[in-house]
Structure formats: structure tokens, C-alpha cells
Amino acid sequence: MDLLPQLLIAGVVIGSVYALAALGFVLIYKSSRVINFAHGQIIATGAFIAFALTQKGVNFWLAGLIAMLATFLLGMLIERVFLRRMVGEPIIAVIMVTIGLSSVIDGLIHLTPYGAGTFSFERPALLTGQGIELFGLPLSKTQIAGVLMALGLLGGFTYFFNKSTLGITMRAVADDQMAAMSVGTSVERVFALAWAAAGLTAAAAGVILGLMSGLTLGGLAGIGLKVFPVVILGGLDSVIGAIVGGMLIGILENLSAGYLDGIVPGGGTREVFPFIILIIVLLIRPYGLFGTKEIERV
């Protein structure tokens, strides 16, 4: 039976979408220690902007780019208007602001014709037609594009955070804002940049997700929730963690759907299995697989 390799590959494919969505979380968390519950909504915004443009006859790729630019600005705007005031507030307050924002964006999307209903992209020529087959598992071009895009973006950001001065500074800001300011860092600019970058990746994730499984507000925004086990498993502040966490969750979901569902009456174990694994992993490594351990010295 070649079920296992097929499940693993399928897990990697869906996992790369998770990873891409998770990347946005990590970007924000890494520099500002804010966890963004509105990320799913930003993903949805990006996807719908791209969709609306294609509806108006704009070329798919151009529409995707414009959407990324738009969510780039949206991220910046959110940081500027809402999050900047929250610097220094307790973590629960900041979390709640983003929960509130998720609701606000939901509402705003409902003011457009895309709030209710389901839509799907007109697939661009490049992504139509036969994909490839791995271990007897056919993969569509969209899926391959998703994996490549995820790996590319994730690799780029890993390099950025570890090797570039700006990347290092962004991590420094997360560590100690006051100290970062003392050497001339504009903390505000760093935050704005982080949010903007997160917005950009969100649109990318949204478009890929839209291509793969259609556009509904609930489905796109729902990925915001799905991504939690991913980032927590990988470690909230680790780009590598986002990749590995995403792939792992994707694979775990598939393995449980592939094997566990046959045993558990009613099945649907993929909905909970990752969460159970998550709790077990956390009990062993409380800061995730790749997360930075909080340095606590008394």
C-alpha cells in the first residue's frame, strides 16, 4: 500500500498553506510579541480584493500583486491606528484588541457583496492543466505553486531575520523596546513594517487558499484559527517553526484522517488530533518545537 507516502505528501501540500498563513503570525509576534487573532480576516481581505479585481477583468497575477500591496497597507494601517496605542499593555488586552479587530473586519467585509456566499477564482492559464504525480498521488499546479511560494517566502524571511541588520533589529525590538530605541531604532517603524509584511503574506496565503478551495469568508477567516496549533507547535517566534509546524499539522491531520478515522466511530479526528498532539508537545516543550525559551533568572 502506498497510502502512507501519499498521506505524507498531501500533508506537506496542505501544510505549506498552513505555514504560509502562520508566517504572518510569526512576523508580527517576532517583532512585537503581539498575537494576531485577526490574521484570518486579513487573509480573507487579501483574497477578496484579488477576486474583486479579477471580476473587474484585471489579470489574475496583477490582481494578486495589487491585493498584496493592499494588505501590506492594511497591516500598516492596523498597526498605526490600533496597535500602537497598545504598546506596553498586558498581553490579554492586546490579544483582545486583535479579536475585536477580527470582528470589525468581518463586519466590513459583510458590507461588500463578498460577505455572504461563495466564489471561486477563474484559474489563470499557468495554473490550469495537468500537474505532476508523486507516489501515484496527482498534485495540481496550484498545489505545487502553493508549496513553492510557501517555501520561498519562508526561506527568504528566515534569511532576513538571521542575517540582515534590519531583521536582527526586529527581533531586538521584541526583546526590549526601550533598549532598541536607545540605539536609534524607530520601534514604530519596525512594528509597522512587521504588520505590513504580515499583511503581504496574508494576501498570498489568501489567494492560494482561494485557488485551492474556493472563497468564502468563513473558510478563509477560519484558517486564522487553524493556524494556532501550527504556530504554537512550531514556536511562536520561529519562521522555521512555522514551516515545520505547518507541515507537521498538515501531516498529522492527514495521518489521522487516513488511519484514525477508520477506527474512531464517526471519524472527523483530523479536527482534534492536531490539538491533542499540540497539548502533548507543549507539556514536553512548553515553548514549542523551535520557539525561544523565555530567559527567566531570579
Binding site: 488586552a93 484588541v97 479587530l101 470582528s103 468581518d106 457583496p113 496549533p229 482534534v272 512548553p286 515553548y287
Partner: protein
């Protein structure tokens, strides 16, 4: 010199025991009694549907006190309070339908079930902090919903109907249901509030706050942070369980949708808008959120009728989450201490009345 406690405006206490009293002055004590008296009369003047909202507000207030115990006072972010409510609701439903217990036993059983499960779910808090713990509670919420869906005993999330109750010979029917339950819920809320107020004055309450502020220092004070956290989860989910039991009866049946993630989020919003770690806030938060939702619901129905928006856009759909979200965001940005702070300020004002300062 008790008489002067009616009118004093400063701190003239002479014994430390007085420092522990809940009410600074008799005037305050008196005004609370008057308030409760008024509350007892409320159902006589309120329209029926509003009475239903008030009942709901009160039940949520019980759950929000519980949430405040874990999240507000102890700082353990809990995104699964609705699931704890659910545990209480299902336990109550089973006690009432399988064991045929009367409501005054079935509801406490819900509380105890909540506390037991809460204690268990709280165990990871021994190792996890902040967001990692928050996500563990989120995981519990999801596992709970899934688990109920796979348990035939719990009707797989479908309805388990509860029998109507009978108090002092009065049977709760469709037409007096809200009325009867008002007088059942109100005392529960008042007692639950008072109990917590008491705990706050003692070492147990303080130890929770200590763990929130600095768990290492708490340990150095001889407080076992683990025990304190588990205790917070236990008490917090006991409150949730009681609220769930009440909700089960109040809704006449238990269905899984009443205890979903969105309710957990709503409870958090109530706690925040009310003011985290504040008892009055635990009442004001639910009051505000439920009222806001009603107002927006009605307002947007009117707006929708004005045909200002293009077809395919439903104004209510948009305005409800929009206003809910905005309320949370604005509160956090401009009044992070929540409604409780307004309450405190207005109390200060009245205490000094008629003097301005």
C-alpha cells in the same frame, strides 16, 4: 461611631478589622440593599423579552465572574470558558433527565462537574504560560465540542430537553418561564458574587493575584503557584459550570451550539469591557455586550429598511460584528480598565456629593 459611617468621605477607620469590610460606609451598604430591592421588583415592570435578556445577562455574569477568576485575577488566559459552561450544562442535563434530580441539586452538580473538569484542564498551567496556555484552553474548547459530537449519551450535540421546574408550587411554563427563572437566577448571582468578594479578602484571593503579578515572588512568599493556578481553574470553572446548569434550564434544552468557541470569545469580551479583575465589571460587561447587540440588531433592521445599501449586502450582518468588535477595541484603547472604572469614578463622585472634590 457607627452613625458617621453613613456619611464619612474619607478613611477614618480605627481598627484593622474595619479595613477588611466590603463597604466603606453604611451608605454604600444601604445603597446595595436598595439596589437588590429594586432588582427584586424589576420583572414587574420589564417587558417579557427584555426580562429574557436580563436573565441571560445574569447567567453570563456568573460565567464572567468565573472567567475573571482565572483570567482577570490569576492572569491565566482562558479561551474555553464556554466549554466549561457546556460541561456544567451537560452534567446538569444528565442529572435532571437520567437521575431525575430536581433543579436545585442538578445545577450544583453542573458546578461540581465544571470544577472537576476545570481542575484537570488547568493541569497544563503548571507548565505553560501566557499564549501557550491560552492555546491549550482553546484546544480544550475544540476537543470538548468534538467530544460531545461523538458521544451518543449527549445526543451527539443534539438537544437534550430539560423538564420544566416547579418552585413553591409554581410551575415554570412558557408564559412565566422568564419570570420564574429571574427569581432563581438572581439569588444565585448575588450569592456567587458575594462568595467571590469574600475570597478576595483572604489569603486565597490574594494568592491568585500574587501568582498573576509575579509567580516567582509568589513562590517565595510560600504560595504554591501550581496549587493557586489549579485552584483558579477549579473555582473559575465551578462558576462556569453553575452558569451552564442555569443556562441549560433557562434554554429548556442543551445543544452544543450554545457552548461554542464564539461564546467563549464573547465571554472574554464581556470580561474585558467590564474590566478585567473586577467584580462590578463582571456584571457590567455582560450588560453592555448584550444590550449593545440588541440595540445594533434593532438599529440595523431599521437601517436595512432604508435601502441605503446595495443588494446582497445585509446591514445587520455587517453592523453586528462591526459594533461588537469596535466596542472591544475602543474600550481597550481608551478605557482599558473597562466599565468598572466608570463605575468606580461615578461612585467616587456620589460619595463626595454634594461636594465637587
Amino acid at each position: 461611631m457607627p452613625a458617621s459611617r453613613f456619611t464619612q468621605t474619607g478613611n477614618y477607620r480605627t481598627r484593622y478589622a474595619q479595613d477588611q469590610t466590603i463597604f466603606a460606609t453604611y451608605a454604600e451598604q444601604l445603597s446595595l440593599i436598595v439596589l437588590i430591592g429594586l432588582l427584586l421588583l424589576l420583572p414587574l415592570i420589564l417587558p417579557k423579552t427584555m426580562l429574557r435578556d436580563v436573565n441571560m445577562i445574569m447567567i453570563y455574569a456568573v460565567a464572567v465572574i468565573g472567567l475573571n477568576i482565572t483570567t482577570g485575577y490569576t492572569g491565566l488566559i482562558n479561551i474555553g470558558q464556554a466549554a466549561f459552561m457546556g460541561v456544567g450544562a451537560y452534567a446538569t442535563a444528565l442529572a435532571a433527565t437520567r437521575l431525575n434530580l430536581p433543579f436545585f441539586l442538578a445545577i450544583p452538580i453542573g458546578g461540581i462537574a465544571g470544577a472537576l473538569v476545570g481542575t484537570f484542564v488547568g493541569l497544563p498551567s503548571l507548565r505553560l504560560k501566557y499564549l501557550y496556555l491560552a492555546v491549550a484552553t482553546l484546544a480544550f474548547q475544540i476537543i470538548f465540542e468534538w467530544g460531545v459530537g461523538h458521544t451518543p449519551l449527549l445526543a451527539q450535540g443534539g438537544a437534550i430537553s430539560l423538564p420544566p421546574v416547579q418552585v413553591f408550587g409554581v410551575k415554570a411554563t412558557f408564559f412565566n418561564h422568564n419570570f420564574v427563572w429571574y427569581y432563581l437566577i438572581l439569588p444565585v448571582l448575588v450569592v456567587m458574587g458575594l462568595l467571590w468578594r469574600n475570597v478576595l479578602r483572604t489569603k486565597h484571593g490574594r494568592s491568585l493575584i500574587a501568582v498573576r503579578d509575579n509567580d516567582r515572588a509568589a513562590a517565595a512568599m510560600g504560595i504554591n503557584p501550581g496549587t493557586a493556578k489549579i485552584m483558579a481553574f477549579m473555582i473559575g470553572s465551578f462558576y462556569a459550570g453553575i452558569a451552564g446548569g442555569l443556562f441549560a434550564y433557562f434554554q429548556k434544552a442543551v445543544v452544543i451550539e450554545d457552548y461554542g468557541l464564539h461564546i467563549s470569545i464573547q465571554l472574554l469580551a464581556m470580561a474585558i469591557v467590564g474590566g478585567l479583575g473586577s467584580l462590578p465589571g463582571s456584571f457590567l460587561g455582560p450588560l453592555f455586550i448584550v444590550t449593545l447587540d440588541r440595540l445594533v440588531g434593532n438599529g440595523s433592521q431599521w437601517l436595512g429598511a432604508q435601502n441605503l445599501f446595495p443588494a446582497g449586502v445585509d446591514v445587520a450582518t455587517a453592523l453586528r460584528p462591526l459594533s461588537f468588535g469596535l466596542a472591544i477595541v475602543l474600550f481597550l484603547m481608551f478605557e482599558p480598565r473597562g466599565l468598572a472604572n466608570w463605575w468606580r469614578l461615578s461612585r467616587l463622585y456620589f460619595k463626595k456629593w454634594p461636594y465637587k472634590f
